[in-house]
Point group: C2
Chain length 198, copies 2
């Protein structure tokens, strides 16, 4: 819309028509199931109609139920994730709070509670349907479906969008962990939200 | 533990024994299902073993799955709530983000979207199993089970513990809404956490 404020009269008219067309396109996209529906977000949404993807993590189905980049949340973000048997998150850490509620299945939380220069051998916590777990801020961890059926979890994080540092193994130094930001499920809409601000 | 640093030698010994006893009692309480287990909180907990109560709201069963006053969360808080048919939250507002995930049943979200000096007649949004809803910050709202079976929701809020302003009806001025803080389910542990700091 910046175009409207500069240029000659005729180019302003063209710019105005162009901008309005863009705006109409944007709003129709936003309300008709765009992957980045940050404006015109309905108050109530059917979770089964939300986009879902593995985002390159084998055996994962991720859905952002209420997100920062996708939906304009400022302080919390909610994910619904399903891990097939054997599927796991990367070994990773983040400086936000994270709470899981296990809806279905079972698995293991691997949590490195030591505070040296690398995560070290993790402690194993069995997780199960109707359990809740919290991950202490900045502790390296991994959630894995070590059971025989799908593991489904509802995850809440604070301070979205998430900034994740990933480790190749439990003995990689913290300083060598790689920042992945925006994370895979935020990539597409993060780019679009950046464009919006140009 | 302040007792240990004052008094004569013999009274110090008594005080030390007394303090250690208190401390042991405190830790055993914390790990064996105390209502305020903020210290020694296990990483994984069985939700079905958590305390639950109506907290004076007819037809409500509330459980704090991961909370600020109860469990030491700083940025997010998670509740599991079940509303019997006809049960409802008060009409209320709060300045934090709130996201619901409906696990079972159906109901209605009443949401006052106008921004005058009082909430006014609310818009009604049907909510249903597998839906998600977010409440815009500071909008007066009420969730009610208008169905025939239990309505079960998992609720995430930001910036806990929650500060709730309640309304007698939709036409009560915002300035007359009553602050209830700490909210009913935080009362017991809020008092204890205050005592801890004395």
């Amino acid at each position: 819309m910046i175009l409207l404020s500069v240029g000659s009269s005729s180019s302003s008219q063209i710019a105005a028509i162009f901008s309005v067309t863009l705006l109409l396109f944007y709003f129709s996209e936003a309300t008709l199931g765009s992957p980045c529906p940050i404006d015109g977000l309905p108050i109530v949404r059917n979770i089964s109609e939300l986009p879902q993807d593995s985002y390159g993590i084998p055996g994962l189905t991720h859905m952002t139920v209420a997100g920062s980049v996708l939906h304009g949340m400022k302080e919390v973000e909610i994910w619904l994730q399903t891990f097939a048997p054997g599927a796991a998150t990367p070994i990773h850490r983040h400086s936000c709070e994270e709470v899981f509620v296990v809806l279905k299945g079972s698995g293991t939380l691997y949590l490195a509670e030591t505070h040296g220069s690398f995560p070290g051998k993790p402690v194993e916590f069995p997780i199960f349907a109707n359990s809740t777990l919290h991950v202490p801020i900045n502790d390296a961890h991994q959630v894995k479906n070590t059971g025989n059926e799908d593991l489904q979890v509802l995850v809440t994080i604070s301070r979205p969008p998430i900034k994740i540092f990933t480790y190749d193994d439990w003995f990689m130094p913290h300083t060598a962990a790689k920042l992945k930001f925006p994370f895979f499920w935020d990539e597409q809409c993060f780019q679009e939200s950046q464009k919006d601000e140009l």
